[in-house]
Amino acid sequence: MTAIVDSLASHLGKEAAIFFGSVFLAALYAAFRVIWREIRRFGCFLWSRHRTLVSVARTHTQDGPREGNGVWVTQPIVPPEDYKNSFHGAKILAISNLKGGVGKTTLAANIGAFLSHDARWNKRVLLVDLDFQGSLSSMALPEDERWLPPAGQDSLATRVLSGDIDAGILVSCAKATQHEPRLKIITAHYDLAQADNRLLIEWLLKCRNQAGRSVRKALGDLLYGRLFKKYDVRYNLAAVLHSEAVREAFDLVIIDCPPRLTTGAIQALCASSHLLIPTILDRPSAEAVLRFCEQVETLKASKICPHIKVLGSVGSKYRSGQLAARAASARISDRLKEMKVGYGLLPEQLFFPQTVALVRDASEGIAYFVMDNDDAGRNARAAIEGLSTYLAQHMGIPPDPNSPAQTTSA
């Protein structure tokens, strides 16, 4: 090296030798950086590939290969800091069932409507639509197409699940529903279907696109030493909904889950403090409830969402006196009792009735707001009130102290 420098110095002069030497070193460093980056990428690729394949790999048993335990129980589990404590006082209700058409959206919308609109409660409620079909969104904002994302852009739900927006922005972006300003909603659209897949693959391959990361957030992460913290897609929603900003802005969050264990559904289970499982009381739906309860118990046992409290299963589209419904109830109760999970079917008087009043005017908005005041409407409202009150009491949500009823009783 010294000989090269001496040779250059003798031919070009000392200054030129220093200049070309510096350029050479810089080029060498740049080349090293590129090579190192590629080596890291390759290593990462091998590790990610391995991790992804392990997550979905079949296991080998004496009877031959069998499918693995599922991607959502992939280790390591990296919940947000202070995850356990963040549940203290959290009022986040997930309404979920892996079977479709059991009344999840109707329940979510009407419970939210009652608790936000009824003078005895006056709660600030945030609805989170995690079903890409956007049924809850269109029900809450029936005459306002502005909830739809602009052409080529993503819906609010996609951005929240992706971790692209923080709690403050979420609070300001939540749209007030048409009939009640205290009831707000995070809307979803079809882009959420792609987001569900993308987030899962990015997480497994550990190649999360950081383009959307703001400088402020990057600096914050650097300052708090979180820059190299492992990323776990399962807790994106929890990180936002457990934040102070959301707690201050809303008394209750209700999540309408999709009928599959998508990324959104898993994030909902990890973020929620309580779970309600609606079901139709027929034979196939009863079996679906039991399978879902097992899935939830497996997730809890795997420490994915250990803090979620299952309130129970509630009958929907219910007609009292039907023997088939009672047989389905027995089927659910028998097995849940055997599983010793500590929950079962909610009392029969809380079941949502089969009534046209709840679905007749769905195109005009949430049934609770737009139902006629006829017998069917009054019965449906009474059912909504009964179930909402029960849930509020079991979630520890107090009535509004300033409501006329509370003032009178005081």
Partner: protein
């Protein structure tokens, strides 16, 4: 023609015979009225059909026999055929034939037994017996409790079911009530009730098997 209306017509005919000083014929006709009042809602054809299979004791020497009417009716029959509808005439013909077959029977005994036969034919209907039978709720409750206890215990439940199947004391109605109580299912008959009772236990077994098949795996 309904029996009640036919009885009225017989009564009217008897009154006509009385007015014509034919008191024995009037008496004989009036004697038949209780037969047709026994089943007022049934048709004359039904009543005649029910009585046609019955045997009646032959009259003793001093008793009035059925043929005292059997000789009166053909004349009345001819008169009725000429003025009444074909249906009424057919009823008269059927009655005449019946009486002719039993012409040697005591009239009083014929009427008494015929009325008895008709009344008891309604009372002995199986439907009515079922309705009047009281379900033994204590027995149903006892079995329900044992079934609830055995639910999920496959050998125990099957043993109890075999016992239940062989229990002759349990009537079909009680078995149906037990199916409704235990399995919340409506059943028609004993076999179907047993099937429904098994179905609740079977559902639990299927659910367990489904659970084992899932083997703690997540649907995603």
């Amino acid at each position: 023609m309904k029996s009640a209306a036919f009885a009225d017509r017989l009564d009217e005919a008897a009154a006509m015979f009385e007015a014509a000083q034919a008191s024995s014929a009037a008496h004989a006709l009036r004697a038949l009225v209780p037969i047709f009042k026994a089943l007022p809602a049934k048709t004359v054809a039904d009543v005649v059909s029910k009585l046609s299979t019955q045997d009646f004791p032959t009259a003793s020497f001093m008793q009035t026999r059925v043929d005292t009417i059997a000789s009166t009716l053909p004349a009345l029959d001819t008169f009725v055929t000429s003025i009444a509808s074909k249906a009424i005439a057919a009823d008269f013909v059927a009655l005449t034939a019946l009486l002719h077959r039993h012409k040697s029977v005591s009239l009083d005994q014929f009427v008494a037994k015929a009325a008895d036969v008709l009344v008891s034919s309604v009372a002995s209907k199986p439907k009515s017996v079922k309705a009047s039978k009281v379900l033994r709720t204590d027995l149903i409750e006892k079995y329900n409790k044992r079934l609830e206890e055995a639910l999920g215990d496959d050998p125990g439940f099957r043993q109890l079911l075999a016992q239940l199947r062989q229990d002759a004391e349990m009537t079909s109605a009680e078995m149906t009530a037990l199916a409704k109580r235990f399995a919340f299912a409506a059943a028609k008959g004993r076999d179907q009730a047993l099937k429904k009772i098994v179905s609740r236990h079977h559902d639990l077994m299927i659910s367990r098997a489904a659970s084992r098949a899932t083997a703690g795996r997540i649907a995603g």
